[in-house]
């Protein structure tokens, strides 16, 4: 094998001893017996067994392939076209996102209190269960609640509205059959809820997610509402917080890619003062901004609720209006406003500047 010893996933103390004994490449180690390795490197028997076990696993075809397999962009294109996305029932937002919240990516939803982040998350948890024949994914959802803002009654209302919406759309027999199985009880039973009270529980839960997802392969959505709350108070060491968050983000994107699920995270807003002006920016720091693949910022403008796509690898930036009704997250009935001049952009509410839709520029 061509792996060098310093690059192997072993404890640093063990690696130092192995290197001092003169082992440079993983192939030097493969022919050793545990006792021999013990004596030559000066490590304990358990450590020697662990090292050899890890090398044997690494040599397995499927492990090696995971790191070294490559897809061509063409294969990826076919994969992406086969994967769906989760609709939000707000067609303007779906258009902005390119069909809905995409599967296989992490999406971060930031917003001031009360703007509708939890509502959107609950709506997505219902929408992921829409059967495939109606254009949905027909999957289950896992909702990790850290704030305690999950209300079952509200989800039941949204589920009811979704079922009624599908009933109106049902045309052929396949859809009608699927509709018979789609009831509010079924939707609620396909929603797994976990309550985490602090960041340690959250980290543990994410650590256990791969096993959970292997046992429940129909799960297509994981919502963490919110990821900011456990990390924002009582955390003294900010650099440790950044490291933990970055590690968490990488684990989540790995899960999203390997199990084909959509991961949705909710974040809070904080105020940044610069040049005598204050601006609302997403919380958790500058480096957290790089963690999620897509970023959606929800903000108020007077009495209107707006959603801006701030960061996306495939979609253009845009701002749309939405509203929250009894049935859940929906389109706003107002006409989209014509884009004002740049000079008229106001930041009275101190929110993130408006982003008018690009297509309206003339």
């Amino acid at each position: 094998m061509h792996r060098t010893v310093p690059s192997l996933p072993l404890a640093p103390s063990v690696k130092v001893k192995l290197i001092n004994a003169g082992f440079q490449v993983a192939s030097d180690l493969t022919d050793m017996r545990p006792l021999q390795l013990c004596k030559e490197a000066g490590i304990s028997q358990e450590e020697a067994v662990e090292v050899l076990q890890m090398l044997r696993d690494d040599g397995q075809p499927h492990q090696q392939r995971a790191a070294t397999e490559s897809l061509t962009a063409l294969d990826l294109l076919h994969q992406e076209q086969a994967q769906g996305s989760i609709v939000t029932f707000c067609s303007a937002l779906d258009d902005t996102l390119g069909g809905g919240v995409s599967v296989g990516k992490t999406t971060e939803i930031c917003g001031a209190p009360g703007v509708g982040k939890t509502q959107l998350c609950m709506q997505l948890a219902v929408d992921v269960q829409i059967p495939v024949c109606f254009g949905g994914l027909g999957g289950k959802a896992l909702y990790i609640d850290t704030e305690g803002s999950f209300l079952v009654q509200r989800v039941a209302d949204m589920a009811n509205a979704a079922v009624q919406h599908c009933t109106l759309l049902a045309e052929d027999t396949e859809q009608r059959q699927a509709l018979e199985e789609l009831t509010v009880e079924k939707i609620l039973s396909n929603l797994f809820l976990v309550r985490c009270h602090d960041y340690v529980e959250l980290l543990a839960e994410v650590y256990l997610l791969p096993d959970f997802l292997s046992e429940h392969p129909e799960v297509r959505l994981v919502v963490i509402d919110s990821i900011a709350f456990p990390f924002r108070h009582d955390f003294e060491d900010l650099s440790q917080r950044t490291r933990l968050l970055n590690g968490l983000a990488q684990q989540l994107i790995q899960l999203a890619t390997q199990h084909s699920i959509a991961v949705v995270l909710t974040n809070q807003m904080t105020t940044r003062v610069s040049n005598g002006q204050s601006k609302l920016v997403p919380a958790l720091g500058e480096s957290w901004g790089h963690a999620a693949t897509q970023r959606l910022i929800l903000h108020w403008e007077g009495l209107r609720r707006l959603a801006s796509l701030y960061k996306s690898p495939s979609q253009m930036e845009a701002t749309i209006q939405y509203q929250i009704t009894v049935q859940g997250f929906r389109d706003s009935p107002d006409e989209p406003r014509p884009v004002p001049d740049v000079s008229a952009v106001s930041s009275q509410s101190g929110n993130h500047s408006k982003r008018p839709r690009m297509e309206d520029l003339s």
């Binding site: 003169g22 076209q81 500058e286």
Partner: protein, 332 residues
């Protein structure tokens, strides 16, 4: 460090090695730097045999100096400059990405790093018809966007599919998988990738900070070592195979609130050229970005160029037709 084993040189057998090990000489370096007379007395090995073995080992393991003229000739014949697909960026980078070097893009979230990486990949696979290796650590690879960019370059579907086939994507999410991937590429993966697709000319890693930043700092003692290993692998791949390596990095804010590239001072020495991408302050809604050259061995630093992210999707936008302001102003 090369371990002394029997067979690496005639004259070294099992007893020889045992005798040396009893004197705590385990590697070639230890052997050639020790005093042979003392060794001959302590180990009761013949002095002549020791000198002969040392001569052979030195011949086998020494590095030989190369003259500057030869190096220059080699450089002229093997280096290629790859255009990024965007004239303003090319101007900033002194006509493009150089093979054999690491170039770094850094910027805030949403500043366009991934878009520039896509543009480079599409340009190389379509225009230059060479293979591109794309290592994605953040899940930002979106083949649909690549297709969109290709569609603005050519309406021919076959050409688009061909270009897409030349972009090979690896998805790794932690540093050990990244190292495994890079080492595999260095040993035999690159030849495999080039068969049937044209030789590999570029390696894009998006992003290198996602896998490394959680390991640096605090009481962790392995972070630096892994960072240096990654940089070593990238440099070896760039040099040995004449490939242009493009990496992306995140930004953090320093004490005064100014943006600086992530991963610290140690990483700042690794790339040859560094570019900082930023949104234009006044109009936050536009897709105009500025690129600032922060480190370069060929051009004066702090050159700024503006470019439009929509340059790569001209078809969709009829009003703003990919204007690129080629202003060159040096920062005060």
């Amino acid at each position: 460090m090369v371990i002394l084993r029997e067979g690496i040189c005639p004259g070294i057998n099992e007893e020889f090695i045992k005798a040396l090990q009893s004197e705590d000489i385990k590697t070639v370096e230890d052997f050639v730097s020790c005093n042979l007379e003392e060794l001959a007395q302590k180990c009761s090995l013949s002095y002549k045999a020791l000198v002969a073995v040392r001569r052979v080992l030195l011949a086998q393991y020494t590095a030989f100096p190369v003259s500057g003229g030869d190096l220059y000739e080699e450089l002229l014949s093997s280096t290629a400059i790859l255009s990024t697909g965007n004239p303003s960026l090319d101007k900033l980078l002194d006509s493009g990405l150089y093979t054999g070097e690491i170039t770094e893009l850094t910027g805030s979230p949403g500043s366009g790093k991934t878009q520039v990486c896509f543009s480079v990949a599409v340009n190389i696979s379509h225009q230059l018809k060479k293979t591109v290796l794309y290592i994605d650590t953040k899940g930002g690879m979106c083949a649909n966007r690549l297709l969109q960019m290709l569609q603005t370059k050519t309406p021919n579907m076959e050409e688009q599919m061909e270009a897409l086939q030349k972009i090979k994507v690896f998805r790794v999410f932690d540093v050990f998988s990244l190292l495994a991937c890079l080492q595999h590429l260095r040993s035999n993966g690159l030849q495999k990738a080039s068969v049937g697709g044209g030789s590999v000319k570029a390696l894009i890693v998006d992003s290198v900070s996602a896998v490394l930043s959680s390991l640096l700092g605090g009481k962790q003692n392995e972070g630096m070592s892994l960072l240096m290993q990654v940089s070593g692998e990238l440099k070896m791949i760039a040099k040995d195979f004449n490939i242009a390596v493009l990496v992306t990095n995140h930004v953090t804010r320093d004490g005064n609130g100014h943006l600086k590239a992530g991963l610290g001072q140690s990483w700042s020495h690794v790339p040859r050229t560094r570019v900082l991408l930023q949104r234009v302050e006044e109009a936050e809604t536009s897709s105009i970005r500025t690129a600032t050259l922060t480190k370069s061995s060929r051009q004066a630093c702090h050159l700024v160029e503006e470019f439009d992210l929509c340059h790569w999707s001209e078809e969709r936008r009829t009003s703003i037709s990919g204007k690129r302001k080629l202003e060159e102003r040096s920062k005060p």
